[in-house]
Every structure is written in C-alpha cells, then in structure tokens.
Amino acid sequence: MNSFYMMIALILLVTMLLGLVRVMRGPSRVDRMLAAQLLGTSSVGILLLLALAFEQSALRDVALVFALLAAVSGLAFVRVWAAGVLAK
C-alpha cells in the first residue's frame, strides 16, 4: 500500500515538472502565475499521500498551510502587480 502512495506521489511530482514548462514558456504572465498555482495544488496532494505513507501526521498541517496560503501570492499578483501585466 505504501509503495502505491509513493508511486502516485511520484506521478504528481512529474505533473509538477510538466507544469513548470508552462511557467517557463508563458506566454503571458497570467499563464506563468497560474501554472505556479497548479504546483500548489499538486503539492497538497503529495503531502497528504506521503503523510499517510510515512505516518507523519505533521505533514497534514503543512498541507493545510499550503492550502491556506497558496492563494495569497496569486491574489497579490492580481491586485498589486500593476505595471507590465498587460505588457506582454
């Protein structure tokens, strides 16, 4: 069972790697930021799976904090970062 969780965690890490391609390629800045948000969701999945595989309940608190704070940088992007959003 544990090796199954690890395998799925590995698959999620590979999807994060592929999501990074979008971070690199863009083309727009919204795309880059969105792909970074995708990484947050995948990380929550990885943390929950590995918390179960290694029986470390503290990792669930890490996942909780990820879930809470993933939005903050995205919101800062939408709201604050004015100059250049429409530049390219």
Partner: protein
Amino acid sequence: MLIFDVLLALLILGLAWMSVSSRDLFEAVVLFIALGLMIALAWMRLQAPDAALAEAAIGAGLAGALLLATLSRLDRQTDVSPRRVSVAWSLIWLGLAVGLVLAFAQLPRTGEGLMPDVMANMEQSGVGHPVTAVLLNFRAWDTALELAVLAWAWFAQQALNREQHPGFLALQGHVLTSSAKILAPLLVLVGGYLLWRGADATGGAFQAGAVLAAGLVLYSLSFKADLPYDGWQGLGLRFLWLAGFWLFALVGLVGFALGLGFMGYPPAQAGALILLIELFATLSIALLLAAMFSGVSERRSAA
C-alpha cells in the same frame, strides 16, 4: 522513493539556477515561488516538518506577495544588456563549489549529533517538542536575534522607500471581499492552532506569525486598507513590532538576576514563559511582515 528524491533535487537545482539567471524579473519571481514549494517538499523528505511548515508559509505564500509588491514599484523589469561570462569569476565560484563539496565530504558522521543531549534535558525545558525546546529554551538567544533581524529588515526597507504603497488594481464584483471575510478568520484560527500546537508538536511562533501575516496581507489586498498606524492604536502597533524581542530580553535579564544565566528560565515556569514569549513573538512577526507588504501610512490631520 529514490526516484522521487532525485527528481526533487534536480528540480530544486534547476529552478534555483533559472530564477537566478532569468532576464525577466517577473519570471524570476514566479520561479522563486515554485522553488519555495519544492524546498518545502524537500524539508518534508528530510523528516523536518517544522522547517517544511515555515517554508510553506513564508516561501510559498508571503515571499511571493512581498516580491510582487516590490516588483510593482520598480521601473525596469527586464535586463536587456548583453551578458558576458567572466572566466576568472567562473573559476573562483567553481573552486568555492568544489571546496564546499570537499568540506561536506569530510564532515564527521556520528549520526546522533546533539539529539541525545536535547532529549536528556527535555523535562527542564517546559515544552514537549524538541524543536520548540531548542528554539525557545536551549538556544533562545538565536531566536531572539532572529526577531531583531526581522525588525532590522523592516527598518532597512523604511530607509529605502518611505511612504510608498503598492498600487491596487480595480476588480469587478465582490468575490475577493466576500471570500476574504471567510478566509481571514480561518487564517487567524490556523495561526492560533499552530502557535498552541508548537508546545508539543510541529508548529510555533514563526509559522503562526507567517500565517497571521498572510491574513493581514489578505485584508489589505481585499479592502485596500492598512492597519491604523496613527494615534493610540498606531502606538500600540509600533510597540508590538518589537514586543517579542523586548519580552525575550526582559525574561533573559530576569533569569540573569535569578542566577540562572542570561536567557535561563526557572524550570517550573518555563512552559508558561515560553508560551508568553511565543505569543508576543507571533504578533511581532505578523505585524512586521504585514507592514513590509503594505507600507505604513500616517494620516496626519494637520499639515
């Protein structure tokens, strides 16, 4: 699991390199946010959930918001100058890297480190979690200085640009404001939970402070409002910026007067003292980080 670790390590190295070498500052910031996520995962794999929690709160959430707010105040965001590679500097850095690897290879590997000493003195520490015991009791001096460093960073930022606030873009609808009303109390709740849990399990002042700061940043993003920095309330806020550090120093001096050495706690009251210090440290960290994000404005009534 080896494949997972190798892939993670390669991703961290690649992301670090790309975010340093990127010519577009925005791209560098986004890559840095992704790097923070990966480093949090790496701390998790190294069996260090405390560090993973801090990295998740600061690296993935707050640092991104702070860097984007900084970026919005910069005029030039891309580097257009031609890039030159200096052979001499490359050799120097390469030599340094080789030296570091050699030094790492020669580290003594006793495997135990200081852990037996920490575990032997856990009863005196007043808390049940070894990491908290080290941070707030055995090595309390380091933690107090970390608070001072944070305050120092805030003063440096004030010296560089005073009275500058991030500009806020207009948004349609009320999605942000109504969701902030749900999320902000939850952030306060989770912050309190992390602070309370820090005594016996993963958590503590820095993590709780970062989560609370994220709540304050969310508040200022949603309602375009700052905390009140004028009048009595402002005085209270300014007091709280340094309250964590001063309380630390005060307790340390009392310990000195009682003959326990500087920063020594009486073992009977150690748990209560640590909780008190952590509470004020959390408030200091949260308010300082939030002030760094949104800037401080004093609404002077008479010019």
